[in-house]
C-alpha cells in the first residue's frame, strides 16, 4: 500500500463532498434534463480512475472529468451548444405560468441558464464553475486546463456578455 493510496479519502466521503457542486456545474453546462446522466457518468469515471487520483486537488480533478463529460454530451448531441435546452428555456420564460417547478427552477433561473448557455464554451464552463460550483479561480483554471489568470479572464468576459443579455432582457420587458 503506497502513501498515495493512503491520502485518498473513502470514495463515499469524496462523493458526499462533491456531488452537489458537480450537479450544479452540469446543470449549468448541459441543462437540468441531461445533467443526471452526465453526473452518473462523471462519478463512474471518477471511481474507475480513483486509485490513481493522487496528489493535486480532488475538487479540480472531478470537475475536469465533469467538464469532459459535458463536452462529450454536446458532441454526441451533434451540437456545440444545447440549443434545444436554450429554446425550451426561452419558451418557458415567455409563456406564463411556466412549468419549471418540476425542475426546481424559477423562471428567472431559466432565463439565466439560457443566457449562460449562449456563452462560448470556455467562458461558459468558467462562469458556471466559478458561480454555480463555487470554485476559486485557481481551481477553475486547473479544471479547465488554463492558468488562474486565464480562468479569471474567461469569467470576466463571460460576465460582461451576461450583463449585456440581462440589459437586453430588461429592455424587452419594458
Amino acid at each position: 500500500m503506497s502513501a498515495i493510496d493512503q491520502a485518498l479519502p473513502p470514495f463515499q466521503v469524496f462523493l458526499d463532498e462533491h456531488l452537489e457542486p458537480v450537479r450544479a456545474f452540469l446543470r449549468g453546462m448541459v441543462g437540468p434534463n441531461d445533467a443526471e446522466d452526465c453526473l452518473q457518468e462523471t462519478f463512474m469515471a471518477a471511481l474507475r480512475a480513483y486509485p490513481r487520483a493522487h496528489g493535486g486537488n480532488l475538487r479540480s480533478w472531478v470537475f475536469t472529468i465533469a467538464h469532459r463529460k459535458a463536452i462529450d454530451h454536446h458532441r454526441a448531441a451533434g451540437r456545440e451548444q444545447p440549443v434545444a435546452d436554450v429554446e425550451r428555456a426561452v419558451d418557458r420564460r415567455n409563456s406564463a405560468p411556466p412549468a419549471d417547478s418540476r425542475l426546481g427552477m424559477s423562471p428567472r433561473d431559466s432565463a439565466i441558464w439560457a443566457a449562460v448557455a449562449e456563452l462560448p464554451p470556455g467562458q461558459r464552463a468558467a462562469v458556471v464553475l466559478r458561480f454555480a460550483a463555487d470554485l476559486r479561480y485557481r481551481e477553475v483554471g486547473e479544471a479547465l486546463g488554463t492558468s488562474e489568470e486565464g480562468a479569471r479572464q474567461n469569467v470576466h468576459e463571460g460576465l460582461k456578455k451576461l450583463r449585456r443579455s440581462a440589459a437586453e432582457l430588461k429592455e424587452m420587458a419594458t
Binding site: 473513502p10 462523493l15 453526473l39 462519478f43 471511481l47 486509485p51
Partner: protein
Amino acid sequence: MNEFIERLAAQASEEGLLDVAYATVDTPIGEVVVAATDRGLVRVALPGESVDDVLNHLAQGVSPRILAYPKRLDEARRELDQYFEGKRQQFDLPLDWRLSHPGFYRRVLRATARVRFGEVITYTDAAKRAGSPRAFRAAGTALGSNPIPIVVPCHRVVRSGGNIGNYGGGPELKRYLLEHEHAL
C-alpha cells in the same frame, strides 16, 4: 437512501468497481456498521466506533473504492437481525480476513470463530488452539484487534477465574452478548 448514490453503487458493483460496500444495521446494542468485499464480510464496527474512522481504515487497508451499498449486505444484515432476535446461533457468512494480521493473530481469530453459541473459552485456550499455549497475552491482543466482532465471537473468550475480561465495545457490551447467549 439518496437515489443517485444507490444507482451509482449498483452500476459500480455490476462493473466490478465497488471494492468495499457498507451498510448500517439497527440492533439492540445500537447502530452497527457492516462492510463486505467480493470475498465476504470484512468488517463489523460496534456502536462506539466512529463511522469516519471505520471508512478511513477500510480505505487504507482494503481499497478507497468504498460506497454505501446495503444490497451487498442483505444476508449479513438478516443474520445479525436474527441473532439479536434470538433466532440464530451461528453465522453462515463468507468472511474476508484481510484486515487481521496473518500468522498467530489470524489463527487466534479463526479458532475463536469456532467457539459455539453459549460456550466460553479462556485466553489461554485461545492461545493453545492457535498453536502457542503460552502466548495468552498475545491472544488477548489478537482478539482486541478483531475486525469482525460478533460474527467472529471474540466476546466468548474470557479470563480464567470468572472475570469476563476486556472487550472492544466495552465490558458491559461483552456481558450483554454473553447473557444473550445464556453463557453466564
